[in-house]
């Protein structure tokens, strides 16, 4: 949860800079707050910093107050030490998009027309985002630690090969390392093939470790639990409460102390693409991507800063036809972004003994 002593206002302008709309927005601060929390955890701070996180605006250097270039979410531990996540204006896109949709409905913006926006912060002492429990209720955070224990990051790196996401190699260097066994990737491919033209998915389970040689955290995926009780089509996949129940039961049955690490789903692009053989190679559907709906699933279920999403999609081959490719996405600066991971081909040494 987050507290702030500001109101946030979004202003929308058309391409010529003519003001179209100004409205109060209620940004969703959870992703920024969870990113700050993970930063605190990586610095070996308390797992549950004191609630709530504090949100402050970052002012635009030229125009100054009240215009923002972004915002800062900070969490403090009992000693007042702070860890923070800074977000830029793209963080507010979802709220701005809602306003733009209304403008299109009112006929003040054409569908598909480019627009610009700015975000401003106005002091408001009422602390809008800090909810109070109803009268007569007692609510206390009892979240347990997600860190399993200590292991050597080096010994994981020794049995793994990095799978780079082209768009994010540099940015990924600041992310926590994620290890995914080759057998999980092979299972993902088999399940995708079996589902043919339909999307399919599942939940990634495993462990969050702290490196013995540093304070760094890393995520070890141990298994992919195929999703049951889903509703799937060629272009969508619905996870139901029964899906999650079955996963929780699987974790209980395995009884290995594993936690939910993220989720997996497929993009059967070869069935979406209606191009002829030649233009198929350039089909925009034959690229890895994470849709707005995918972000919504991640935001709703996989809110922790270390949670990841694996997508197995179809990519056109140079010689024609399609091949499968895996891409990993995760939280960075409060947004879901493409990131790299390590494919593990061996067994971790402690398990070999």
């Amino acid at each position: 949860m987050a507290a702030t002593s500001y109101h946030f206002l979004a202003s929308l302008y058309n391409a010529d800079g003519v003001a179209l709309e100004r409205r109060v927005i209620l940004p969703d601060w959870t992703p920024a707050t969870e990113s700050a929390r993970l930063a605190a955890l990586r610095q070996c701070r308390l797992e549950s910093p004191i609630e709530p996180a504090e949100i402050t605006p970052l002012w635009e250097p030229e125009k100054g107050k009240p215009f923002m270039v972004g915002a800062r979410a900070a969490v403090k531990d009992g000693d007042g030490r702070e860890a923070a996540c800074e977000v830029d204006l793209t963080y507010f896109r979802a709220q701005v998009q809602v306003a733009a949709t209304d403008l299109v409905k009112d006929g003040r913006l054409k569908d598909g027309e480019t627009f610009q926006y700015s975000i401003a912060a106005i002091p408001n002492p009422k602390q809008l985002n800090a909810p109070q429990p109803p009268v007569g209720w007692q609510i206390q955070d009892v979240s347990a630690s997600t860190i399993r224990g200590e292991r050597s990051l080096q010994s994981y790196l020794a049995i793994a090969a990095e799978v780079d996401s082209e768009m994010s190699a540099a940015a990924s260097a600041t992310d926590i390392p994620v290890f995914i066994p080759l057998e999980v990737l092979r299972l993902a491919e088999q399940l995708k093939t079996a589902a043919t033209e339909k999307e399919t998915g599942g939940v990634l389970i495993g462990n969050l470790w702290r490196d013995t040689g540093s304070t760094e955290l890393f995520l070890e995926v141990t298994a992919l639990v195929p999703a049951k009780h889903t509703l799937e089509s060629s272009t969508s996949l619905q996870f139901t409460p029964q899906t999650w129940t079955a996963v929780a039961e699987t974790l209980q049955r395995r009884n290995r102390g594993e936690i939910w690490c993220g989720w997996w789903h497929t993009h059967p692009a070869q069935y979406w693409c209606k191009c002829d053989e030649e233009s198929q190679k350039k089909c925009p559907l034959g690229k890895q991507f994470f849709s707005v709906d995918d972000v919504s699933v991640h935001r709703t279920v996989f809110t922790k800063g270390f949670h990841v999403a694996l997508v197995t999609g179809d990519i056109p081959k140079a010689e024609g036809g399609w091949e499968m490719s895996h891409a990993l996405y995760g939280w960075r600066s409060g947004m879901v972004q493409a990131r790299s991971f390590h494919a593990v081909s061996g067994k971790y040494e402690e398990e070999m003994r």
Partner: protein
């Protein structure tokens, strides 16, 4: 004419309420006539769970009692349906999709 007032409801608990992953948990003690819907509505923020998706559509949550091994109806009263020390898991229906792409 006399009007009978309903007796002030007792506070019962504790109950643990968690998100899907079980990684965010809140312990609550609440008036016994609180409904399952009210628990869900008031706890979402504390569990970092959104009430709406990015398009502003409400997200529906199933509430499952671990001790009872069943999903609870939204209008069930906690005092009638549950014994203290139960764990409730809030589980949303969510949809991944290609969206407007292509």
């Amino acid at each position: 004419m006399s009007v009978e007032t309903s007796p002030a409801s007792q506070v019962i608990g504790p109950f643990t309420v968690t998100d899907v992953t079980g990684q965010k948990s809140q312990q609550i003690s609440i008036p016994s006539d609180t409904t399952v819907n009210e628990v869900c509505k008031n706890l979402l923020g504390y569990l970092n769970q959104p009430a709406h998706d990015s398009d502003g559509r409400p997200i529906t949550y199933g509430v499952r009692s671990e001790n009872e091994g069943r999903f609870l109806g939204g209008n069930e009263r906690i005092g009638d349906a549950l014994q203290p020390n139960d764990t409730l898991r809030l589980m949303p229906t969510v949809e991944a999709g290609r969206g407007s792409r292509g």
